[in-house]
C-alpha cells in the first residue's frame, strides 16, 4: 500500500520494553487527511504503537525500537531526525485532559513560546484561531486569563486540542481522547475530529469500537503486539478477513 498519499508508513516495527516484546513486526500506512483508528483489547500495544509515531516512547527507560516509521518518506528514527521537530509536526492529544495549571491563554501559546515566538500580537491571533478551530472560542473568549483548570472536562480536552492546533502540526495522534468524557462531550469531540481531518491527518486509539466505526476511514485491529488486520473501516466491521477480528468485534473477547 505504498502510495504518494501515505503521510506515515510503518514497516516491520518491533518494540521491546526491556525483554517484553510489545510490538511485533507491525506494518501500517496512515493516509493523508483521513482518520486511522487502532482498536484492540487492553495491552494489545495500540497506545504503544501510537507513541512510536511521535517518539514519546523515548521517555521510558529500557525501550528499544527497530524497524521503520517514515513521515513523508523520511525515517523519524534516523539519528539525523530532530525529535523536537518531529513532535511539532506530529502532535498528541492524551487520554485524560491535561492542561497545565496555567491560564487558558498560556496553555494555548505554550508550544509557540517553546518554539521561540515572542510576538504578543501574533500569539494572540494564533490563540484565537486555535481556540476557534477547537470550537472553544465562544466558551472562553471572555476568560482567557482564567485558570484552565476551572473549565469542565470536555472543554479542557478541547483546550488540549487548541493547544496542539496552535503549533500547526501535520498529524494529530489521539490516545483514547474521550475515555474521560460523557457521551455528549464524546459526540462533540468526534464531530470536531471529522472537521479537523480536512486539514490534518489523524490517528486515534480507542477502546470504543463504535467510535472507530463512526469516525475512522481505516481501522487496524491489534492483539498481543501484532497487527491482526488492517483495512477500510467499513470492511473491518462488516466483513473482517480474520477470525480473531470477527470474534473481537462481535464481542467474544476483549
Amino acid at each position: 500500500m505504498t502510495t504518494e498519499k501515505n503521510k506515515i508508513e510503518i514497516s516491520g516495527l518491533d518494540l521491546y520494553y526491556g525483554k517484553f516484546h510489545a510490538l511485533q513486526s507491525v506494518s501500517m500506512p496512515v493516509q493523508k487527511n483521513l482518520i486511522t483508528a487502532l482498536i484492540g483489547p487492553s495491552g494489545c500495544g495500540k497506545s504503544t504503537l501510537l507513541r512510536c509515531l511521535n517518539r514519546m516512547n523515548d521517555l521510558i527507560s529500557g525501550v528499544k525500537v527497530t524497524g521503520k516509521v517514515l513521515l513523508d518518506q523520511s525515517d523519524i528514527y534516523s539519528p539525523t531526525f530532530e525529535v523536537t521537530e518531529l513532535r511539532k509536526r506530529v502532535g498528541m492529544v492524551f487520554q485524560r485532559p491535561n492542561p497545565f495549571p496555567l491560564s487558558i491563554y498560556d496553555n494555548v501559546v505554550y508550544g509557540l513560546k517553546v518554539a521561540g515566538m515572542n510576538n504578543r500580537k501574533k500569539m494572540e491571533e494564533i490563540a484565537e484561531k486555535s481556540l476557534m478551530g477547537a470550537w472553544l472560542w465562544d466558551n472562553v473568549k471572555d476568560k482567557l486569563h482564567h485558570s484552565a483548570l476551572e473549565l469542565p472536562l470536555d472543554q479542557q480536552q478541547r483546550l488540549c486540542v487548541a493547544r496542539l492546533l496552535a503549533i500547526e502540526p501535520e498529524v494529530i495522534l489521539m490516545d483514547e481522547p474521550c475515555s474521560a468524557l460523557d457521551p455528549i462531550a464524546t459526540m462533540k469531540i468526534e464531530e470536531l475530529m471529522l472537521e479537523l481531518k480536512k486539514n490534518y491527518t489523524i490517528v486515534i486509539v480507542t477502546h470504543n469500537m463504535q467510535q472507530a466505526a463512526r469516525v475512522s476511514d481505516f481501522t487496524g485491529y491489534m492483539l498481543l503486539g501484532k497487527m491482526i488486520e488492517f483495512n477500510v473501516t467499513k470492511d473491518i466491521f462488516t466483513r473482517p478477513k480474520e477470525k480473531l477480528t470477527e470474534e473481537y468485534i462481535s464481542g467474544k473477547y476483549g
Binding site: 514519546m56 523536537t84 513532535r87 491535561n98 496555567l102 517553546v114 486569563h145 482564567h146 493547544r163
Partner: protein
Amino acid sequence: MMRLNPRYVQRGAVFVLGGATVLTLLILIFIIFFILEKGLPVLTLNFLTGNPEDLGRKGGIFPAIIGSIILPLLAILIATPLGIFTSVYLSEYTRESKLTRLIRFGTDCLAGIPSIIFGLFGYIFFVITLEMGWSILSGALTLAVMILPTIIRTSEEAIRAVPKTYREVSFSLGATGWQTVKKVILPNALPGIVTGIMLSIGRSIGETAAVIFTAGSSLRLPTSIFDSTRTMAVHFYILAREGISQENAYGTAATLIIAVLLVNLTAYWLMNRFIAKRRS
C-alpha cells in the same frame, strides 16, 4: 484473644493522635512563651541597634544581628542554585541506576551528620587549608555544605511530585528537556523547593557549632566577607556558657525566635503571591 470493639478502638485512636498533636503544640508554645517572657523585657531599640560592651554584659547585639543575616543569606545564595541544579540533574537527566541510588544514599547520610562535624570540616578545609581564616566566607561556605543535602533532597522530592503528564505534554509540544524543566517542572515544584530552602534558612540561622569554628566569634561589626563575625546563636551560646549575662542571652534568643518567625512568614507570603500570580 478478645476482639476489641472497633468503635472503642476508633475513639482510642482519635484520642492518641489528637493528644500527640496537642502535646506537640503545647511544647512549642511553652518554649516560645518561656523565651519571650525572659527575653522581651531586655528587647529595646538600643539592644537591637547598639554595639555590645564589656563582652556583651551591656550594650546591644547589632553586630550579631548583622552576622545572623549575612551568614545564612550567603549560604543560601551558594547552596540553592547548586542544590536545585543537582536535584534537576538527578531527577530529570539521569535514569534510575545504582549510581543515582548511591548518590541519594550519600546525600541522606550527609543530611544526618551532626553540624559540629561540618564545623570541624570547615575549620580544616576552608579556614586552614584554603587560608580563608575565621571569616564570613568560611562560615557561609560551611553552612552551604551543611544545608546542601537538605535542599537537594527536598527539591528532588518536589520535582518528582510534579505529575508525569506535564512532562509528556511539554515534550509532545516540541519542548526540549531544559524548556520543560524551566517552564513546567520548576514552577510546579516551587512550593516544595521553597519549603526546603526555608528549613535550611531556619537551620542555618540557629546553627552554632558549624559557625563558631569557621566564622569565629568577633564582636566587631564586619566590613567585608573576609572579616570574622558572630551570629546571634553563637552570641547566645557564649553569653550563657560563660555566664556573662543571662538577661542578654535571653534577649538574644527572643530576637532569634522573632527573626525566624519573620523569615518564615515572609517566605510563605512570597510563595502564595507567586502561586496566585501563576494561576490567574
